[in-house]
């Protein structure tokens, strides 16, 4: 299992209701269902991923998250998860609002554009960074709203969102002790647990 998903898994309590926005092949939910008796749904719009979820026995709902989550009731989930999808949303700020509306707690992970490698790439080459973890060119990337840890945290301040936990991992999703020394420079992927 991907290391960031390992971390998230630890943050989710047993016997709770979880919704995973952009659930991919349903790996996280499958583990949560098997090991923590979690009940939940994945939301996904990639056809291959949807079939994979069905095969795994994970409840999956075909939906474009950008169209909003209006059909889901306030506080109807214990945890709302969104891994590596915030940066592909048209309005990440509105999605975060929606997540905090339908869930008591939310877990968000996203790539950090303030990482030294991204900064170095742009500074030295004068081109949009392309790397293993930002593997698209500017014209074909699904990532339309890159942010840094600082950006995300100032959004949280602005919206009065409480950050319960923050963990920083590298592009292998490994947690290294030194990344926390200067997370906005050294961390490649951020994992936040937030609440109202």
């Amino acid at each position: 299992m991907r290391a960031d998903l390992e971390i998230i898994r630890e943050w989710i309590r047993p016997n709770t209701r979880v919704i995973d926005l952009g659930c991919g092949e349903g790996e996280l939910l499958r583990h949560l269902i098997n090991e923590k008796n979690v009940r939940g749904y994945g939301i996904e719009n990639d056809h291959t991923n949807i079939t994979a979820c069905i095969e795994k026995g994970v409840n999956v709902i075909e939906k474009d998250i950008d169209q909003g989550l209006a059909s889901l009731r306030d506080n109807s989930f214990d945890t709302v998860v969104m891994t590596q999808a915030l940066q592909v949303m048209h309005r990440p700020d509105l999605i975060v609002d929606e997540m905090l509306r339908i869930g008591k707690e939310c877990i968000v992970t996203f790539p950090n554009f303030g990482h030294w490698r991204a900064r170095g790439y742009l500074a030295l080459r004068g081109q949009m960074p392309v790397s293993k973890f930002l593997s698209y060119s500017w014209y074909d990337t699904p990532n339309i709203h890159f942010c840094t840890f600082k950006d995300f945290e100032s959004l949280c301040v602005q919206k009065n969102i409480h950050i319960l936990n923050r963990t920083v991992v590298d592009n292998e999703h490994q947690h290294r002790w030194w990344t926390n020394l200067w997370p906005n420079m050294l961390g490649e992927i951020a994992i936040y647990r937030i609440t109202r």
Binding site: Y41, T51, I54, G57, N59, V60, I61, S71
Partner: protein
């Protein structure tokens, strides 16, 4: 009929008529003292009867779901999905199709003989509801020795029956597959049905539904009803793709005979239907559609209606279906999510409109297959196998 059958065909099939003598109390207040259900099955029921799948039919459907009859050129209506190695794999599942009560293909219905009078029931056949059908299907399950269906599956009106099963008999199905359906008809849906019914009942050959007695058939009415229906089953894009404004003779003729391809197509479909279907059944089936509303007994709260359901659900909708649009399937989805039920939902891109649920669209079949795998995985290990293992 093909002389040899494809390896994934259930091949030559025969229906059977099953008689029921335990009276069936209906929602309309009347009772059917005895009735017949015309049934067709494929595959083998396993020792503990845990691999059975019920296929519920749509408006003009019947028991002949897959395979061929002697002399047939076309197979059953869902042959693309049912057979050895097909999504509903008859090597694994025992599949049951039936003609609903009130139908016109052998089950008790307006065109069948009323044992009390020795004449066709005609308009005296009671109006049926989706709930009544589920009740009759539960009796069929009892007859076949099936305590719990591995799945109840249906499209359109068939999807409504599957949904109702999950509410009326939560313990008697493990999975519920609702395809291209809605939790209740919209005013627009009812309006189309009313046009169809008016076309039939205003036909001079309808004779208040007693046309059997005079040896006539309200052919024109039935044809018009089907034409209206058919338009709503297709999509604008699908029709444009299929017919465009193509003309049979390539030029305007300045008369009222069919000139556009789409006109001839509708007339052909309508005419074919009017000789094969019973007008009273069409009236009855459209009324059952209009009446369906499982939330009505639960304070108009669908989520409350589905509260007691224990089945796992798979919902599928089609993008260009405007008869039962994806929004309508999402009403069921939202109610199920609200009620905390296990549910998956997929929206298949297709130009075919409502009819898409009968067409083997690759992604549709892929989802179907994947979900059927899940249904197969949920078949409890057979008691016989357990016995052998111990």
């Amino acid at each position: 009929m093909p002389t040899t059958f494809a390896a994934d065909s259930v091949g030559l099939v025969t229906p059977q008529a099953i008689e029921f003598t335990q009276p069936l109390a209906l929602a309309c207040g009347r009772t059917l003292d005895q009735y017949t259900l015309m049934v067709e099955t494929y595959g083998e029921l396993n020792a503990d009867a845990s691999n059975a799948i019920l296929i519920c039919h749509a408006l003009s459907g019947h028991h002949h779901v897959a395979g061929y009859y002697e002399g047939d050129t076309k197979p059953g209506w869902w042959d693309s999905a049912i057979g050895p190695g097909k999504p509903i794999d008859t090597n694994r599942f025992f599949v049951v199709g039936l003609n609903n009560l009130g139908g016109c293909h052998g089950s008790s219905g307006p065109n069948q003989i009323d044992p009390k009078t020795g004449k066709p029931y005609g308009p005296d056949f009671p109006l049926m509801t989706v709930k009544d059908w589920v009740e009759s299907q539960a009796r069929l399950a009892d007859y076949l020795g099936i305590q719990q269906w591995a799945a109840v599956i249906g499209g359109s009106l068939g999807g409504m029956q599957a949904l109702q099963w999950s509410i009326t008999y939560p313990d008697r199905l493990r999975h519920c597959m609702v395809i291209a359906a809605a939790p209740k008809l919209s005013a627009q849906n009812i309006a189309f049905n009313e046009v169809a019914r008016q076309a039939i009942s205003k036909d001079p050959q309808f004779h208040d539904g007693r046309y059997y007695d005079v040896g006539e058939v309200p052919k024109t009415g039935l044809m018009l009803a089907r034409m209206v229906g058919h338009i709503t089953y297709l999509s604008d894009d699908g029709m444009r793709e299929k017919f465009g404004r193509e003309m049979k003779e390539g030029k305007l003729r300045f008369d009222f005979n069919p000139q556009f391809e789409v006109e001839s197509y509708l007339q052909y479909q309508g005419e074919r239907f009017s000789t094969a279907f019973d007008a009273n059944t069409y009236l009855l089936m459209t009324k059952a559609l209009d009446y369906y509303d499982p939330a009505s007994e639960f304070n108009d709260d669908l989520s409350l209606a589905l509260q007691q359901a224990t089945a796992k659900f798979m919902l599928i909708a089609f993008t260009t279906d405007w008869r039962f649009s994806p929004e309508r399937s999402r009403e069921i989805l939202d109610a199920l999510v609200d009620a905390g039920k296990d549910v998956s939902y997929a929206e298949v891109d297709s130009p075919q409109g409502h009819d898409a649920f009968l067409i083997p669209i690759p992604r549709y079949m892929e989802i179907f297959r994947a979900y059927m795998e899940r249904i197969a995985a949920d078949i409890p290990p057979s008691t016989q196998e357990k016995g052998n293992a111990s």
